[in-house]
């Protein structure tokens, strides 16, 4: 079930009513859990078994990890959890990719091996809920927090429908305490939640799907060299589309949880206002970048094992971060480029200009490189990526113009406004800005967003991050 669908609106109304009826807290939690399973099963019912397996195994393994005193048994339990979670992820997400690369490799060695193509369906949200359960067992291993007492609370932590399919990726300490004690939604929370839900849907339905997606699809789907202007507009359109799509989803998730009285962590903080790449990753998909920092970069040694290892650790983290997004070498290159930018930035800060404060001129430079790098994220293969890069850097002769003047005007207007708003809002949030504004301004903006959603009528299109 996607947030931008009539089914979800009906589902959400029922959930709001149920959650505000005078049931016991335990009954409300059971309602939420059952609703979360319905929400998930609406995609592909059999995959709910995977969710149950992951939940039950990690609940008991997590508890055993916390209480186990024997160092070796404890490690063994951690290995079981890692193999269970990552094995499931590898099979469903990377099975085909691994086989394809293996076949290429053995064929290159002269062995004639051509297995049947596996037909593996990727369960929705597996990358997200695997990371959610993984961080719990790793925390239990390090005894960073107490094990969750009830299976109901743990199941809800893993399955709570607002974050289940595409994040934000939650940590146990962020969500579990909210289930342990009864919570009541205040009127302000409900209103703020509904405002954010409108904002999230506006970002997805109007900006991403209606105004930018077609331009990005036209340009990236064009099979011949493009005119420079068209290639750039396609890249910029995708840059806006991916932000509005994913930030729109996160905003909806946070909003829906807020309407039910829960707080989910922030996932985007106006990333196109970033001054440099470390700043970008503090603003883009925050819950993934902090997860990778805490559960991959720091355990690898972070910056504690010397300069060279720091760069290696950064690169490993970003390469795996890239691969997390999809089973394709283009994602690995995307991650590698971001890793390289982070290394160069760190090198400049450490060696060349250690005390220089960030300059706003870094914004266009960061935005430029982020956009160029999106080419690898969006392109389905390297030939498309190469065609796009040669077109945007003017290395093609007689590139074809494919975008209409209306497309050019829409893309340039939306992207310019997006960057401007990111800059103006870089140190605040939508809710803070709404609280400071006059009531009639908020009402007007809110009404415009809903009117936009109504006249766009693009219900039910999937979010890009579902494929990850």
């Amino acid at each position: 079930m996607v947030f931008n669908s009539y089914t979800f609106i009906a589902f959400f109304i029922v959930m709001l009513i149920l959650h505000h009826l005078p049931f016991t807290w335990k009954t409300k939690k059971i309602n939420l859990l059952l609703a979360s399973y319905v929400f998930y099963a609406a995609w592909n019912p059999p995959f709910i078994l995977l969710l149950w397996l992951s939940t039950v195994v990690d609940f008991f393994v997590g508890r055993a990890l916390y209480t186990q005193e024997n160092k070796y048994k404890k490690r063994m339990l951690l290995v079981i959890s890692l193999i269970g979670n990552l094995g499931m992820l590898c099979f469903f997400k990377y099975g085909g990719f691994l086989l394809e690369n293996f076949v290429t490799m053995v064929n290159a060695l002269g062995i004639d091996y051509h297995p049947a193509k596996p037909n593996i369906i990727l369960p929705a949200g597996i990358s997200f809920y695997t990371f959610t359960t993984l961080c719990y067992t790793i925390d239990m291993y390090h005894r960073k927090s107490q094990p969750v007492k009830s299976l109901l609370d743990f199941s809800l932590f893993v399955t709570f429908f607002p974050h289940l399919v595409a994040g934000p990726i939650v940590r146990p300490h962020q969500l579990v305490p909210q289930f342990e004690t009864p919570r009541k939604t205040t009127r302000q929370q409900l209103m703020q939640g509904l405002f954010l839900l409108s904002l999230g849907l506006f970002m997805k339905v109007v900006l991403a799907d209606t105004l930018l997606a077609a331009t990005a699809n036209t340009v990236f789907g064009f099979q011949r060299p493009l005119a420079g202007l068209d290639a750039w507009m396609g890249v910029l359109a995708f840059s806006g589309q991916i932000f509005f799509d994913f930030a729109g989803y996160s905003t909806c998730a946070i909003a829906v949880a807020m309407c039910l009285g829960f707080v989910l962590p922030e996932n985007f903080r106006y990333p196109y206002a970033a001054l440099g790449f470390s700043d970008f990753w503090r603003r883009w998909h925050i819950t993934l970048s902090t997860w990778l920092r805490d559960y991959l970069y720091i355990p690898l040694g972070g910056n504690r094992k010397g300069e060279a290892r720091t760069y290696v650790n950064l690169m490993i983290t970003m390469l795996l971060g890239g691969l997390w997004h999809g089973a394709s070498w283009t994602f690995v290159v995307w991650g590698a480029l971001h890793g390289t930018y982070l290394c160069i930035e760190r090198l400049i800060k450490d060696r060349l200009v250690p005390k220089q404060t960030p300059n706003f001129l870094l914004l266009p430079f960061t935005f430029f490189l982020v956009n160029v790098t999106w080419v690898f994220f969006r392109a389905t293969d390297f030939s498309t990526a190469w065609r796009m890069l040669t077109s945007i850097f003017g290395q093609t002769e007689k590139g074809t113009a494919v975008l209409t003047t209306v497309d050019l005007i829409i893309t340039s207007t939306v992207v310019t406004l997006m960057v401007l708003i990111h800059w103006l809002m870089r140190n605040t949030s939508a809710l803070q800005a709404a609280q400071k504004a006059k009531w009639w301004v908020v009402a007007g903006v809110w009404a415009l967003m809903i009117i936009g959603i109504v006249i766009c009528q693009k219900s039910g299109d999937s979010f890009i991050y579902f494929q990850f």
């Binding site: 089914t7 099963a41 995609w43 592909n44 019912p45 209306v406 829409i410 009404a447 936009g452 009528q457």
Partner: protein, 339 residues
């Protein structure tokens, strides 16, 4: 906020209704998938229609069902050649029905498959991946679309409205011209019809004729020689699969008129295209001008029939199929007696 939104929505609906529009369904991949599901039904008493817009306008589904006593499933997609849908039905073991393939030469014999097949590819992919939630959403959507005019995205959504902006494009950029919203409506069974507004307005008809005749024919994108033979081999393979399950298949070339027909004849000589298609695929066909009963219709915008003519065309087509092509409809007598 709610007041502003309510006033806006009411005003929008009032505006479109004031201009004479009535509720119609969005002819998108969701509606297509709803019909496609009906073809996934192991009965031989159904006929599916694939191809482009002509069969959608010209074939009257209700008349077909009434005359034949069999289910009719409209799977044609505007602007597409229909070959992908043919292949999809051929590969679906559950489909045991008959198939009528609409031939409009500019679409069917174009090698520009990336563009021509786009909507068919998306619709087929959506059908196979459609989730329970999406099916439920579609059901709610149909109820709303049956009541509210402005909900039809294809004509009144923001994208459709932006596409009507008359801003000159750069040389070489030739987007498909937007048809006037008065042109057609679509019902829940994907029956598309020219609207009474359109039929009553010669200016609108002229405007639409200008749109059809301005679409350039790119000779480099026309099939010929080996490409045509290869495509026909693929079509034959699909047709053979349908026949092996007991299904009957026939090509139909519906009427067109004016300069549209003249251009089609000029760029797609019958001997080089239609005749070869029938020969290569070993499949019968009905070319409108060969049959007096369907040869003399007037297409108001030179490409599609008016709804009343669609009923006559369908009735006569069924007769031709029965009398000249050997098709039988076991339930037809029984049903005709009832009517």
């Amino acid at each position: 906020m709610l007041v502003i939104v309510t006033i806006f929505v009411a005003a929008l609906e009032y505006y479109w209704r004031g201009r004479g529009f009535v509720p119609s369904y969005n002819d998108d991949k969701v509606l297509w998938a709803t019909q496609r599901r009906k073809a996934d039904n192991p009965t031989d008493q159904l006929t599916a229609f694939v191809g482009g817009s002509r069969i959608k306008f010209d074939l009257d589904v209700a008349t077909w069902e009434r005359l034949t006593g069999e289910k009719a499933i409209q799977l044609a997609l505007v602007g597409t050649p229909g070959r992908l849908t043919l292949r999809d039905l051929a590969n679906d073991e559950n489909f045991k029905g008959n198939l009528i393939i609409d031939i409009a030469e500019p679409q069917f014999f174009s090698i520009d498959t990336a563009r021509r097949d786009k909507s068919a590819r998306e619709a087929i992919e959506f059908y196979y991946k459609e989730t329970l939630a999406q099916k439920a959403s579609a059901s709610i959507d149909y109820v709303l679309e049956s009541k509210l005019v402005f909900l039809e995205e294809g004509r009144f959504g923001l994208t459709a409205l932006l596409n009507t902006l008359q801003i000159p494009n750069r040389p070489g950029v030739v987007p498909p011209p937007p048809c006037p919203p008065e042109l057609s409506t679509t019902d829940l069974h994907r029956q598309t019809s020219l609207t009474p507004m359109f039929l009553a307005d010669p200016q609108l008809q002229k405007k639409q004729i200008a749109i059809w005749t301005r679409i350039p024919t790119n000779r480099s994108l026309l099939m010929s020689g080996d490409t045509l033979a290869a495509v026909c081999r693929g079509i034959k393979a699909s047709i053979d699969k349908i026949r092996s399950r007991g299904g009957r298949v026939i090509f139909v070339r519906p009427p067109s008129g004016g300069d549209v027909l003249k251009n089609e004849k000029k760029f797609f000589p019958r001997q080089q295209y239609w005749d070869r298609l029938l020969e290569y695929t070993n499949t019968p066909g009905i070319y409108f001008s060969d049959y007096p009963a369907i040869a003399n219709f007037n297409c108001p915008e030179w490409s599609h029939l008016a709804p009343a003519d669609g009923v006559t065309f369908t009735r006569n087509l069924v007769e031709i199929l029965q009398n000249e092509k050997g098709w039988t409809f076991p339930n037809s007598t029984k049903l005709n007696a009832k009517h």
